[in-house]
């Protein structure tokens, strides 16, 4: 602030200004009634939903304009084509069915992945060898593409859902475990000592102290894991095929790709985007609001 800088440096023998004392009788009135007024724009801007809708509309516009300019529906359909195909797919019930199948598989894989991540990180936080084990496994397996798991998946689970779930777990597990473990390690020594003081140990300490204390990191891990589960699912459904008409969104995309129904391909992807937006804004955002934001562990 320039104002402060304008203050002349106080003369070395400047004396504080001598003035009379003041004694007041504090009035009691309702301070809670005082509120800073906001303009309409401010009010709209303050509303997260409004801001996000504006961003989404802009993105849709960019897509539409670029799609039209490109004029190559076989490779990249415009937004309106995609939306049309999307509603057609929804109307015929196909998309809903396919998304339902995918979602079910996804949730199973995601759930198992999180369960295993919990187990591994609990082990990791309880002993040094556990930490090394987790670190080694993660650095070895996390970079491996699904192709590396394919033979084992086929041997263990055969064609179909079992293998897809196996691959899903692979894509969720390491990211969640890495984030969770890093979160656990970042929990302050004091917090840990408080938990130990209550006599908590092992899994109880993890559940009652470390998990809530590291919840921010865990949530990030869950978000990353969720996204990669989708990516993997779509790719895996192509590889593992389907035994009957029961394929999911990945299969839908693959089928339509082969049929050169590009608008449908994008309608499928559009559905993935929509699901992503919903999960982020309704599920993850709610969790965030009810936990870390409320607990003062997330700022802004």
């Amino acid at each position: 602030m320039s104002a402060a800088l304008k203050t002349p440096p106080p003369a070395s023998q400047a004396q504080p200004y001598e003035r009379a004392e003041i004694v007041r009788q504090p009035a009691v009135h309702d301070a809670a009634a005082i509120q800073r007024p906001l303009s309409t724009f401010e009010n709209l801007y303050r509303h997260g939903g409004v801001r996000k809708v504006v961003i989404l509309l802009l993105l849709a516009l960019v897509w539409e304009v670029y799609g039209r300019w490109l004029d190559n529906a076989l490779l990249f359909p415009s937004f309106s084509d995609t939306v049309r195909a999307f509603f057609a797919g929804i109307g015929s019930g196909v998309l809903i069915d396919r998304a339902g199948v995918s979602m079910k598989t996804l949730l199973i894989g995601y759930g198992i992945g999180i369960g295993l991540a919990t187990l591994l990180t609990t082990l990791a936080i309880s002993s040094r060898i556990g930490t090394d084990f987790l670190e080694t496994l993660t650095s070895m397996f996390n970079p491996l593409p699904a192709i590396a798991l394919l033979p084992l998946a086929l041997i263990w689970f055969g064609l179909g859902n079992g293998s897809i779930i196996f691959v899903l777990v692979h894509s969720v597990l390491w990211a969640v475990a890495l984030n969770t473990h890093a979160g656990f390690r970042g929990v302050s020594q004091t917090m840990r000592m408080v938990g130990q003081n209550y006599g908590l140990k092992g899994f109880k300490l993890v559940r009652l102290i470390l998990i809530p204390a590291a919840f921010g990191s865990i949530l990030t891990g869950l978000k990353v894991g969720w996204a990669f589960a989708w990516r993997t699912l779509i790719a895996a459904e192509l590889v593992f095929g389907v035994s009957s008409g029961s394929g999911g969104l990945g299969w839908y995309i693959f089928e339509n790709r082969n049929q050169l129904e590009t608008a449908n391909v994008f309608a499928g992807l559009f559905f993935v985007i929509l699901i992503g937006l919903c999960v982020e804004n309704f599920i993850f955002a709610t969790i965030e609001r009810k936990t870390i934001r409320r607990w003062g562990m997330q700022n802004h």
């Binding site: 490779l75 590889v239 082969n258 049929q259 050169l260």
Partner: protein, 312 residues
Amino acid sequence: EANAVRLSHGYGMLYLPLMVIRDQKLIEKHAKAAGLGDVTTNWATLDGGNVINDAMLSGNLDIAGTGAPGFITLWSKANGIPRSEVIGLGALSTASLWLNTNNPNIKSLKDFTPKDKIAIPGIKTSLSAVVLQMAAAKEFGHANYAKLDPLTVSLGHPEAVGALLSGKTEITAHFTSPPFSYQEAKDPRITRVLSSTAVLGNITLDVVFAMKQFTVQNPKLTQAFVAAQEEANAYIARDRKGAAETFLRVSKIKLTQAEVEAMLADPDNQFSTTPVGIMQYVDFMGLAGTIKTRPKAWSELFIDSVKSRKGS
């Protein structure tokens, strides 16, 4: 013998007999006739030779259709490893692969310049890759079979169609099978450089195969499958309209009935269980070094009941 059989077919026209078998439940019918009782079938739709190989080797698949070069590679690799040995049940289909281009300057293989890119769906052992090399060998001499390799890029058929038709990418040619080849040909800007049948004749492109163990343990079931395939082939030859309907129903592909019938009418598209030109692949792949173990005759690759055919 097993009372369930797991099969897979791929996506395009080349798999039509398997689709008919699936649609008309021909295996169930012939198995019953052979006294095997009620046999159930499980069909998977698998894309890509690798996955079929893996599924087969891991014991998740009994019978599958795949490209001839891929099958030959697997046979060669697995030869001498009892638990992994595979055997052909017969040919599946013959069709023509077309090399389409959007570059008007290209009239023959000789006209490709380093700036051109040819899209093929796989490399080395994929059907298109091998057939293209064989065509190059014919054109430029055997030593130069790999001459076009630097120009080839691996890209899935659908993307390649989009890329070729858009003309906005560096893809200037696409070596592909029906229905993609037909789809491209509809566009006036696309010209055909080469048809595989014109160069190599009507050789078998896809075959049906199984693990050797399976055929040994289930001789009647194997025969039931062969019989089913014969019936399917006969049906396709007899009832083009019905076959086209089956294709549309099973593959769910969005073509008109007329378009499919036109494809079926093309004399290049043939469905027979007799393997033709297998040794052409074997000789070529042996020379190219893709396979190390080479069969002496085509019949080594197939089950006894096919051996008596007039194959090559």
